[in-house]
């Protein structure tokens, strides 16, 4: 909408126009996901250029990296909402494993049928999330510490209980259970031959849209931004701060459980160490997507763009024929650059004040 009019002698309307234009430009620069989008385009071009297979920039490549991005993105979107709400969840990674194990043990040891077991697994995850949230709200300890404790406790339980019950570090044989096929069709199938896109991608896009609508348009979204931006001010205006935070922790745990369930159904077994280490990948995706570490600012679409950047990097490095060990270095550099860009953007968003 850059209608460059030549300056005329009498131009008060032209001045108004300029004000409006500056406002919409400022609004664009205020978007948290702007930096991530630019970064994603850059990363895509980079890996399209160094690609050795000739497939990265095709639908085959898209099917591959979107699979990787989806398993990160489903949790990263929830982690982003939690970060906008001013909290962290370091137990989100291990929850993927815990919930997979709960599902596996329910069906193989207690002979629960698949669909009720999936429901119970989600209830289990919600309970762990509620506990995280309740502890953070009640103790007023940083969520970093509270969820770090949850992380290690669950990791210990995952290994200890799995070994105790199965004498191995994995639960297998879950594909013999009634309901496995229908559950797999919902959570772990693929579609669109011959590319074989993963159904997880559909879940991921759906969750991203839901989270974006909630954040931008729902009353609860307003509360998320407010409790992360200034919990005291939010409380003073009547926002239920504790309830909002606890619900965010529950949503994060349940998103991790969703990925745990998907992984279990896809691999037909669960490793006790599944998911550990991923908690930081989710946080990186959220931060690359424009979430401020201080809370109160960020976006769900941004987190999904961040997850795409990470997915492209993982697959792109493999397609380039490089050693995949390099992917961590790549993540580190991307994270650092994102934080730099976001700091500049957020300064501009707050107009140089406060």
């Amino acid at each position: 909408m850059s209608t460059t009019t030549t300056p005329t002698a009498t131009s008060p309307p032209a001045r108004d126009e300029r004000v409006a234009q500056t406002a919409s430009l400022a609004r664009l620069l205020r978007r948290p996901e702007l930096g991530a989008l630019i970064g994603a385009v850059g990363v895509f071009v980079l890996f399209a250029v160094v690609d050795q297979t000739g497939q990265f920039a095709s639908l085959h490549g898209l099917a591959r990296w979107s699979d990787s991005a989806a398993t990160i993105g489903i949790v990263a979107v929830a982690v982003a909402l939690l970060m906008i709400g001013g909290e962290f969840d370091l137990s989100a990674g291990v929850m993927v494993g815990s919930s997979g194990l709960v599902l596996g043990l329910l069906v193989t040891e207690l002979y629960v049928m698949m669909w009720p077991a999936i429901l119970l697994t989600l209830v289990f995850a919600a309970a762990i999330g509620a506990m995280n949230g309740w502890l953070v709200v009640k103790t007023r300890l940083p969520s970093f510490i509270v969820t770090l404790a949850t992380f290690f406790s669950l990791q210990g339980l995952n290994l200890g209980l799995t070994k105790m019950i199965t004498d191995t570090v994995r639960v297998s044989g879950i594909d013999d259970i009634p309901g496995f096929d229908s559950a797999r069709a919902v959570f772990a199938t693929d579609f669109w031959e011959p590319y074989k896109f993963r159904i997880a991608v559909v879940w991921w896009i759906g969750l991203t849209i839901l989270a974006t609508v909630v954040l931008a348009r729902a009353r609860f979204g307003n509360w998320i931004t407010a409790v992360g931006g200034d919990a005291n001010a939010a409380r003073n205006t009547g926002v239920p701060v504790a309830r909002t935070k606890i619900l965010l922790f529950m949503f994060t745990s349940m998103s991790a459980a969703l990925v745990g369930i998907m992984t279990a159904l896809r691999l037909r077994s669960v490793q006790a160490g599944q998911g550990v280490g991923e908690e930081f990948t989710y946080i990186i995706a959220a931060v690359v997507g424009g979430c401020l570490l201080t809370g109160g600012f960020g976006s769900a679409i941004g987190a999904s763009v961040g997850a795409s950047v990470i997915g492209m990097a993982f697959i792109g490095i493999a397609f380039a024929g490089w050693n995949t060990d390099w992917s961590f270095l790549f993540l580190g550099v991307i994270l650092f650059m994102a934080v730099m860009v976001n700091t500049i953007i957020s300064r501009r968003a707050s107009g140089g004040r406060g």
């Binding site: 400022a26 609508v213 348009r217 200034d230 409380r235 003073n236 009547g238």
Partner: protein, 285 residues
């Protein structure tokens, strides 16, 4: 600016009688009696530590009084929380804890009371919310070009104004302002004082906490003076002059004795200091 205080002696909307507040062995408030009428500005003045914050926290339901009675519209109440007080029409604007800086003006305006269109997600009626926010702010004389801009980009005075406009819109009968001007410059303070008068003219009972007698005198109809937890003065506007108000504040008396002390020291330094004090007193606004 002459405030024509048409003191129609309407019934007080809020009353304290013999209220005290103790924190363990610390007596923060002692035998406080106070009444506030609709459509007036009641100023509570006092030096640091006088008990102003404790008083408003008691009024707004944060603290429960240790003794005495608290009446709202003639009825004795026991407020359990700020939310409880809000439900009874008592809104408090805390100095730095009133708005969320990174959120837009309209979102801050409706925070906690968003108008929704129903549905499972309880979506906000954004168009209506923006329209109302813009209209209400304009009605208070606050012209914000873009209600989409973050509150953090507004000046301190404008931020206070948004909080005041919000409280008025949501039907506050009593509006408590905790030192709204203490962190602001002269011009910004003027802006906030203007909104205090606007709120009053809309029939709200405003309780204005300050340690600045000049600010108080510009807008106040009734003045209470707190000192060491006690209410030491209770003046209607026509019973007091600005000079008396300034003197009554501990600061006024202390400045004077300081000036005398310096005079006894003699010399140029003292003279310069005296001039400075005189200037300070004149330009304290």
């Amino acid at each position: 600016m002459t405030t024509i205080a048409v003191t129609t002696k309407s019934e007080p909307i809020l009353e304290l009688e013999g209220v005290g507040k103790q924190f363990g062995s610390v007596i923060a408030l002692r035998d406080i009696s106070l009444h506030v009428r609709p459509g007036t500005v009641t100023c509570v003045l006092g030096d640091n530590g006088a008990g102003k914050s404790t008083l408003i926290k008691t009024l707004s339901g944060v603290h429960q009084p240790s003794g005495g009675t608290y009446r709202i519209e003639g009825e004795e109440v026991n407020l359990s929380s700020p939310r409880d007080a809000l439900g009874k029409g008592i809104a408090t604007v805390y100095q730095d804890l009133a708005t969320v800086p990174l959120m837009s003006v309209w979102r801050n305006f409706f925070l906690g009371s968003e108008p929704t269109r129903g549905g499972p997600l309880r979506l906000i009626d954004v168009r209506r919310a923006k329209e109302i926010a813009r209209k209400e702010l304009l009605a208070m004389g606050i012209d914000i070009r873009d209600v989409e801009q973050p509150v953090g980009t507004l000046s301190g005075g404008e931020r206070q104004a948004v909080a005041i406009a919000r409280a008025v819109y949501f039907g506050a009968k009593v509006l408590i302002l905790d030192e709204p001007t203490s962190a602001l410059g002269v011009k910004q303070s003027g802006v906030v004082l203007k909104y205090v008068v606007q709120a009053k003219e809309r029939g709200v009972a405003v309780i204005f906490i300050t340690h600045n007698p000049h600010h108080a005198y510009l807008v106040g109809d009734h003045f209470f003076l707190l000192n060491r937890g006690r209410m030491i003065e209770d003046w209607e506007r026509d019973e007091v002059s600005l000079d008396a108000l300034v003197k009554a504040m501990a600061g006024g008396a202390e400045l004077e004795s300081l000036a005398h002390e310096l005079k006894s020291l003699g010399g140029e330094v003292a003279e310069a200091a005296q001039e400075e004090i005189a200037e300070m007193r004149e330009t304290q606004l």
